[in-house]
Amino acid sequence: MNELHEQFIDEARELIHQATDDLIAVEREGFARERIDRVFRAFHTLKGSAGVVDLPAMGLTLHAAEDLLAAIHAGKLNASPSVIDQALNCLDQVARWVDNFEVGGALPPSAGEDARSMAATLRSLLSERAVTETAEKSAQGSSAPPAEGLLPKWVSRLIESQQGRIVDATREAPAQLFAFSYEPDGQCFFNGDDPLNLIRKIPRLLAFHAEGRETWPPIADLDPFACNLRLQGISAASHAELAGTFRLVPDQVRMVEVPLKAYRPDHARSAGDDDRAGLVRAVIGEQRQVLRAADQGDDMIGRIGAVSRAAANALRYGGLQDLVDAIERANVAALSERNAGHLLSALDHAQASLPGDLSTVAPGAALVSASADGRVEEAERPASHALRVDEGKIDALINLAGELIVAKTGISHLARRLQEELEDRELAGAVRREHDAIERLAGEMHAAILQLRMVPFAQVFRSFPRLVRDMAQRLEKKVRLVTNGETAEADKVIVDRLFEPLLHLVRNALDHGIESPQQRRSAGKAEGATVTMAASRAGDRLIIEVIDDGRGIDPAIVRRRARERGVIGDDELAALPDDQVIDLIFSAGFSTAAEVSDISGRGVGMDVVRTTVERIGGRVSVISRVGAGTTVRLDLPVNIAMSRIMVVSAGGQVFGIPMDAVTETVRLTPDRISRIKNNDGFVLRDRIVPICSLAELMKLPQARSHGSESRLMVVTDVSGKVIALEIDAIDDRLEVVLKPMQGLLSNARGYAGTTLLGDGRVLLVLDLKEILP
């Protein structure tokens, strides 16, 4: 898989994510031009990229989806749940294809068929709407040209009344115009308002019209103190400027964006041509990007081939055969001389020769990401300042910094020797000062490297809007998800590990916490429930809360269930106050759902949440009020802690032992060891210490039989129990980042975690509490 493909996969996933988020937001919060714009751009870019990596099926589907979005964007189609559903389905399909492409470098054989049927479904949504629209139009007998058909009538009328002036005023710089319709409050004259004064203040006014809201009464009946005016106009001021002017009367004003083609007849070409030219331009622009992105490298030949193929196809689609020929000639030249320059200049030439208003496309400008009908935007892609670095490399860096901290203690030892043995006070002082400087630097470096691992919480939260939407639909509940604190950061390991517990908590909230709309109504609550996910930093802790406003947890039910399941002894249960009783939901084998549903899954309880969170050094607590809702709070460390470990070998393997458990190391001659019952032991400061062989504990072959050699012991103190662990050798002492066990090993017992050694080896760190008898 070449770099271009990898880049495509990363980018596609990012775009799919973003479009999904925006679509759900549109569904939840209603139509917002800005959002639809973003979704449209995401689909458009995806389509362009699919062309670059030669995935026509994906392009076909996305093209259909793009048409649908363009219709929504233009106000021709409502963003109804069924439309959003289809758009989301399309994204799902594309995401699956991206997965296929990553694994096999191609789409599955069924892709073409799937693409056609999905495109047909998407288009059927469009045509349904188109049919009703035509019917409406003929009913109204409207003969408005299509470009203006999407605009409210009053806007078209305003444009007509002042078209000459508007065209003149925008000839130099085509502008985004806004039309406003202001209906001042009937009582406004009594409040001392002069609505016309607001209009007078509007900058760059291009058209104005005043009329009566209601037909004017006979003059004898006119009430001069009741305002019955409607004041409408068009301005080239920005939306913000207009909103500022009308800030005190936002409820009385409507604003409508006026697209370029609505007031510039020369821009109102047929939509098909626009789309075609825009597409060609976008594809050519993207090819230039691809080519410029890397002008060296092994895959240059492949890149030239892909770029010229995509560009030629686009130009052919645009009916520009002479440019196609030029591109193909440049391709041959570029390939034979292994120089992309030929192709690049051919692309530049093609772009410059494209019909339409190209003067606005700056050379080298990034993607042109919308069609050319006034929505053209040159999305100057911000240069990415982010680096993708393999996690392991950062961990190695952290451990090296840790080792540096350990190594610097050697310098302080050196200073002491200088003073004591050589009695060179001056030199000792100088060495000590150097030591202090190194210590400070090593500390700062360590902190800075730890910072590299910090990722914002947004990564976890972003999957939830979709999940909540789907779950709520399936459960037939109305749920709104609110997320706060996406910018709060924590170590990557912690953030990654939180997805599952959070998913479980949110599922629980939706399934068990939130009532059906009927139940909520009869409880006097709003039908729509709210689930809030909030992340925040409190010092060096990260607090995450999952809050629902559902039925709450009834302590009586928890008590009954706990008794039935034997989660806790009866006496103990009776003694527990209510607020502690609900903590029992985290106990193993507890589930309050009357039946297991497919949402919350089977057999996985809240105990898993607690276990997972505790494994990364966190705590879980729950607060609930019957009828009012439940808050589950996760209190987590922001950083994975640095642990000091001793690296030892036993049975031919290397292990880490947490230093906080080690009290001392001793070398024992055989005569000091005595057999006590079935076990070896020895006396250490008047205390009998049992000996355990680490190799034996880890079920490894014993290194050697105990002859007359002395044996090496690490004396450990684990929650007050002193045990000597026999090992073969002590290799090192380190300060490391302990990572929780992951993947298949995440359930392995006996290990506190893993760490990467400076030389790249993985070290298993033992959890003495688990392995010692």
Partner: protein, 79 residues
Amino acid sequence: MSVRRGEDGTAIILDGNCTVEEAEPLLQLLQATPTASLDWRQCTHLHTAVLQVILAARPPLIGPCGDAWVQRWVTSNAV
């Protein structure tokens, strides 16, 4: 007085700053003589309420309006 009957008794004259206070006297004058024309050449500022009376009654206007903004934007389109 910003609203008054002209000397010849037919035209109604708006003069100077026409505030919300002028809306009712203007309406009364227009009701009394529905065919009278309105001379707003001397009007320096027209309040919305006054404009509303003019829009509703649509008297023949003697212009140009002294309020430049109104002359620019209102007379060409609305009145």
